[in-house]
């Protein structure tokens, strides 16, 4: 009887493979038991309706966790999702629009080019928006599944089966250890800005000199060489988002968070220093532009550049160390 097969299919469809067959066989026997001898289609309908909604029964059979993000994290997930996607989309749109102004229009250009650019803009915005949403979701789903271990101050996440004791009570957070949300938001904006500029419009990093009303752009970075660094930049951006989500959820410094935070900023510092020392990454025309801008010779400019690099490296080191120490002392603060 087709109806019975369809009912069994509806119940067992989502069950794990090893249970599917057995549950189906048992259900079929039970249904047949409930039917009279020489049953009609009406009998089958009556019995199946008596059994009730197959999806509800399937739910009862289902042994696995059937949600991506549970109630404990749900509202935080949505807040972070809106925030990150909003920031990313805004940053990318801004950078693309800025990029338009420096895209030299070629002869014979007309309105159609602007249509193309607009389509491109929407494409880029949708692409990064989806990427950001995907990664935020992946991070939250991992937290939900305990991949990062149990995190402090995440009530409702600890396994209800574990014996609970008073020791498990979360400490009342020390206010001095608080990670201000605004700080996290600003750091995510900076990260996104930095990453998006390098990813979408790397030529924009440079010097603009207006000559006879014509803007001239001397890019700092050699775009092809930059591709070598792109995987690292993207991975770091992703890790930064993960760290941001973590900070956003726990809200207060703790030692594992501190370790991750310092590791990420040291890696970022190393990346920046390696990049600035990579002579193949720096575009030669940039020195021309800079020499013109400051009205000095090309040779002097090269010498000056060395100084700039030293100052930059020093600044990166000082900021990284200062930031790490600041976070460290905040983490160590005791309740007043």
């Amino acid at each position: 009887m087709e109806l019975i097969e369809r009912y069994i299919y509806a119940v067992t469809e989502q069950l794990p493979k090893d249970q599917k067959e057995d549950v189906g066989k048992e259900l079929r026997a039970n249904i047949e038991d409930m039917l009279p001898e020489d049953y009609t289609e009406e009998d089958v309908k009556r019995v199946l309706e008596q059994l009730g909604n197959p999806w509800q029964i399937a739910e009862e059979y289902q042994p696995r966790q059937r949600y991506l993000i549970g109630p404990a994290l749900y509202s935080k997930y949505f807040t972070v999702l809106k925030l990150v996607v909003g920031i990313v989309v805004a940053v990318v749109a801004t950078i693309s629009i800025i990029g338009w102004f420096f895209t030299p229009l070629e002869a014979g250009d007309d309105l159609n080019n602007y249509v193309d650019l607009t389509v491109e803009l929407f494409g880029a915005v949708v692409q990064v928006g989806l990427q950001a949403a995907l990664w935020v979701t992946v991070i939250f789903a991992s937290i939900e599944r305990g991949l990062f271990g149990k995190t402090e101050n995440m009530q409702g996440l600890s396994d209800a089966k574990d014996a609970w004791s008073v020791r498990d009570l979360p400490a009342i957070p020390v206010q001095a250890r608080r990670i201000p949300r605004s700080g996290s938001v600003i750091s995510i904006i900076v990260t996104m800005l930095f990453t998006s500029v390098l990813y979408f419009q790397p030529q924009l990093v440079g010097i603009f000199i207006s000559r006879d009303g014509d803007p001239n752009l001397y890019s700092l970075l050699e775009t092809e060489r930059l591709q070598l660094y792109m995987p690292f930049i993207l991975i770091l951006a992703f890790v930064q988002i993960a760290l941001f989500v973590w900070k956003y959820i726990v809200q207060y410094w703790n030692y594992s968070l501190l370790t991750a935070h310092i590791a990420v900023s040291v890696l970022l510092g190393i990346l920046l220093i390696v990049m600035i020392y990579d002579t193949a990454l720096i575009n030669n025309s940039f020195f021309n532009g800079a020499a013109q801008l400051f009205d000095i010779s090309y040779q002097t400019m090269l010498w000056q550049w060395d100084q700039v690099v030293h100052v930059f490296v020093l600044a990166v080191i000082v900021i990284t160390v200062w930031d790490a120490l600041d976070a460290f002392f905040k983490t160590r603060k005791k309740a007043a």
Binding site: D22, V23, K25, E26, L27, A29, N30, E32, D33, M34, Q50, L51, G52, N53, Q56, I57, E60, Y61, P63
Partner: protein, 114 residues
């Protein structure tokens, strides 16, 4: 009015749900298959919905309170369930718990009436 009735219905279902395991375990000293158990409980005026019972039997088996075996001697193969050793032990404990609970509750409700 309607919502009160609905609420009473929901609460009654909840109240009964807690006793389902005990009810099912009590009937499984001899092997039974799904439908035979439904009829048995119906005869005892404690009907249980088929859609609730079948998954419950599997869950109890997974918790090792029940053992199961396919009987293929009949023209129609049937899966028989019976209490395991652990199941018998759990059943006895649960029964005692239930008796204590119900006599306590009866006492409290009686006092309330007076």
């Amino acid at each position: 009015m309607d919502s009160t009735e609905e609420l009473i219905h929901t609460l009654t279902v909840e109240l009964k749900r807690g006793t389902l395991v005990l009810l099912v375990l009590s009937q499984l000293h001899q092997p039974e298959y799904g439908y035979s158990l439904i009829q048995k409980l119906e005869d005892k005026h404690a009907p249980i919905e088929a859609g609730t019972l079948y998954p419950l039997l599997r869950r109890l088996e997974k918790q090792q309170l029940l053992k199961s075996e396919w009987d293929t001697t009949d023209s129609r193969p049937r899966k028989f369930y019976v209490l395991s050793e652990q199941g018998k032990q759990v059943y006895n404990e649960l029964k005692t718990e239930w008796q204590t609970l119900s006599s306590q509750l009866a006492q409290i409700l009686l006092e309330e009436e007076q």
